[in-house]
Symmetry: D2
Subunit: 300 residues, 4 copies
């Protein structure tokens, strides 16, 4: 008896590379895009770092953080002024700072010269965010919001597309293709943890999928970033998973860093301190050297 | 040694019912919303049926289908004029009919009197779609596109929110709460298959989660629909899973029905014929009686 | 660029049917094994029921349960005298009754005439268990313990192989083939819930995979049983999922029934009472009729 | 409304540490077992390496491999003489060498002085295997075969328990406790990939769960090994994932190494050559230094 078996679609196939994401697909085994954003090189021998708080809580906090993470070697400040939340109610503390937050990111940029990456959730805020951001972040929940990706890509700004926690490598490359088909070539993909049958501790919903790094680099020329903070959730797991991310071949690292993690407006068990970030940068630089790459201050 | 263990969040907790989705949460064990849409009762003893093609391919096809499925007992015609696709390229056959498609749904409604449910993907098409649709469908990929849900809810039209294939019951109820907080009380939830470690056949990406039906009905008063066509993918699995859906307590059933399934513009292995739909309606009516409910023509 | 892509193995393929499990594979579309065990027909128009407690706690309890479930239409008494546990420590209450338990099952069989199904965990107890059991159960945790399956199959007794909660349909059919290759043709497969990224409530570890019923019946001629009690864990979810199991095409149903569920030695939130079982049998008989099959007392 | 919510059990809880696996649980934050096997230190600053073919194919192959991997810094030769297979049929090539294989491992040990780790599948072969093996391996499929674990633990030989691909950290620690309760303290745990909703390429069934390394080390004092070869399946993914394993804090590494990978009796896309292993050892040694540990030849 034969099984009727057409229309595959769970994993990436050779046919997909040609018809589903020809722009995102590698043309040869050693094809890897390289491009520069705000003075940092992506996709080559260097591994840029995005660091900062989950939320842009206040001007003071964001300028202080920009100064600290830049001194430790981060090229980009991360922080959300617009933040999706799975439920419509927000506490006074956990609240979007929106236009204010974007303005504060601008201050941090002007005062420190650091690059800015921040999330965009609605087309109508694109102009505002583009004034300040060097990279527009498409969050996990919007990975399949194709109209938003299309609009963001059309601005010409570099885009970082976070993988949805329930989506495959194939789905993720489809989202990248939506951006590339608009002529935007500065697309970064970012792994941030997937849902899995077994996590390990009550509050950890996600599993960091580092196997997707070599898997993605086998089929796409786009740089693959990893965000171990969101995936692991627990502060003490961030360092080992960040080091593992660099060792696995990640092309950029995103980390949650906060001057006072326990009083962070969001997920206070997750961010690391400035001191822990400095220590982690030193270790990540060591790992980068082993895999023949540079990172943080080893760049210069 | 004690484990630091705050901030739960994988499953629905009592605290969630009070603070995360108080509007969607049941107030007592026998609290179930009931409401009427286009003459059909939702959330009570009756199980409405949505049937039709994946895509609104042509006016002729959609009117023919509306006539056939209505005759077999369906109260609503389903069909997409706007359809998300994981990749930006579409074949000539698989293409959205957009404004034309919405117009053809209007024709089918006028000629047959059937109710209309169709997907909305962008805020700017809301007015157009609202002219024809009795229920706005938020697709799986947009379950976490909260600005879209908010805008759709504000129209006052009933909403059906499909569960994202990678999202939990908790996430799904959060999406419903975003709609309810706008004052919209006619919200239907629809299970359509989740990703799982083990599917069974190469092209079946999803696993129909029928356990979510009693689980959801334990915590929310909103009606829970099930769409076995998308989940199972294979035509021959649709009947057993549709019957199982009714037996599990589903409050509405969505099915893909096409006059010529093998020439369907999308997923030709999935839709069932008019004859198979008629046969399935008879069996579903039988199951509904066993669980003290009515369905299709047993309504009258 | 082409992807190196040999040696598939996640889902069942046509090649698997010929080389991996030729004995378990269907030879034609309507090929379904039928056989009789203890007077009950498996694999045909009839759906036998296994009911009883998780553990054979005492002689009195097991005889009482056998009497009650038989009166409601169950053909087999289920109950474990040997029970695997994920941890080596057992409470006084939750303890195996082993040789005593097997003897008590024998008493229940003699006094009521009901068939017996019970789990076998070690080869050295095979002779003892075979004196009483009509069906040997291979538990989920032992699905890949091939030496045990081989030894159990060699006894000639019918075998029921429960699917491991982390194993695919393909792995499961491999386990069945290990039994069939020993010449044993009375093999029943039993779905009992799989691990999935999203369950719904803190204590529910599993998701009942009813989609595997039509999927399995497409490729194997062996009867497919379903155990909704273990999968759902919560008593109030057992009825809807049991009805859904029958509707999905299950060939046998296993249920946990206990005279005093809240004082059950194991998983007290899971078993149903005698009254709930009687009520469930009536509903399952109704569903069975809709799918042209018989069940419980509708047999006669 | 409150949710009835007792009997936790998906993730490790503080209560589990006390009642489910008190022997495997850490007594304090810096509690980590250390022990020596065949001259190699486990659980401390050193990271031993197990390398060799999947199957002990022939005496010549196994002695050649032992010589090569030892020269590159591996302390243990791995290779299966007894190998479980998901289906009962084996090709002439893929066949267990059983007693012969064990004897050949003995020759390799005598000629090179390398330690031996090999899988045990049945109690009746324990004496035979113990004559040669320094570590008994409990394979993934037997992780819940508690009688086998008990019997193996009673021999007093060190045990390595591979995590079942569908089991949680909690289940895995339960298996370790079954060994420790017999008085055996030299227990190593080994992560080798889990099933997940999204793998990346058709033949890769598993996802390497590196997040389990910090998660496990937070609750257990036992050393955590990682086997990236089985998990990744594809040869070119082994190096990045092996480096990531060391960076994540793994206490030992297991790798498939074969003199002629493409002609390997099992999974020919998976093993790496002697040259690739030598290169990988150099890189792993570099990573180990960054995390203040030693590995391979950096030991001396």
């Amino acid at each position: 008896m034969a099984i009727e078996n057409k229309a595959p679609g769970k994993d990436v196939s050779s046919e997909d590379l040609e018809s589903k994401f020809p722009l995102a697909a590698k043309k040869s085994a050693d094809h890897f895009s390289t491009f520069e954003i705000a003075g940092a090189q992506f996709g080559g021998g260097h591994i840029p770092v995005f660091a900062g708080p989950n939320m842009v809580e206040s001007e003071e906090l964001i300028v202080e953080t920009a100064t600290a993470v830049k001194a430790s070697g981060a090229q980009f400040l991360r922080g959300g002024a617009f933040k999706p939340l799975s439920f419509p109610y927000r506490s006074a503390k956990y609240n979007e700072t929106r236009e204010d937050g974007i303005r504060w990111l601008g201050t941090a940029k002007k005062e420190t010269g650091i690059g800015i990456i921040t999330e965009i959730m609605e087309e109508r805020y694109l102009d505002l965010v583009c004034e300040v951001a060097d990279i527009l972040q498409i969050g996990s929940r919007n990975m399949q919001n194709y109209p938003l990706i299309t609009a963001a890509a059309k601005t010409g700004k570099p885009l970082m597309i976070k993988r949805h926690f329930g989506c495959s490598l194939r789905d993720w490359l489809g989202a990248a293709e939506y951006a590339m088909v608009e002529g935007n070539e500065k697309i970064i993909l970012c792994e941030r943890g997937v849902t899995a049958p077994h996590t390990h501790k009550d509050s950890s919903r996600f599993l960091l999928d580092l196997q997707v790094v070599p898997a993605a680099k086998e089929v796409t020329h786009l740089p693959i970033a990893v965000d171990p903070s969101h995936a692991t959730f627990w502060r003490s797991w961030v360092k080992p998973m960040a080091l593992a991310s660099v060792a696995s071949g990640a092309d950029a690292i995103m980390l949650e860093v906060h001057p006072d993690p326990e009083n962070s407006a969001v997920d206070p068990l997750q961010p690391i301190t400035f001191e822990a970030f400095e220590d982690l940068m030193v270790s990540m630089e060591g790992i980068a050297q082993v895999v023949d790459r540079t990172m943080g201050r080893t760049l210069s």
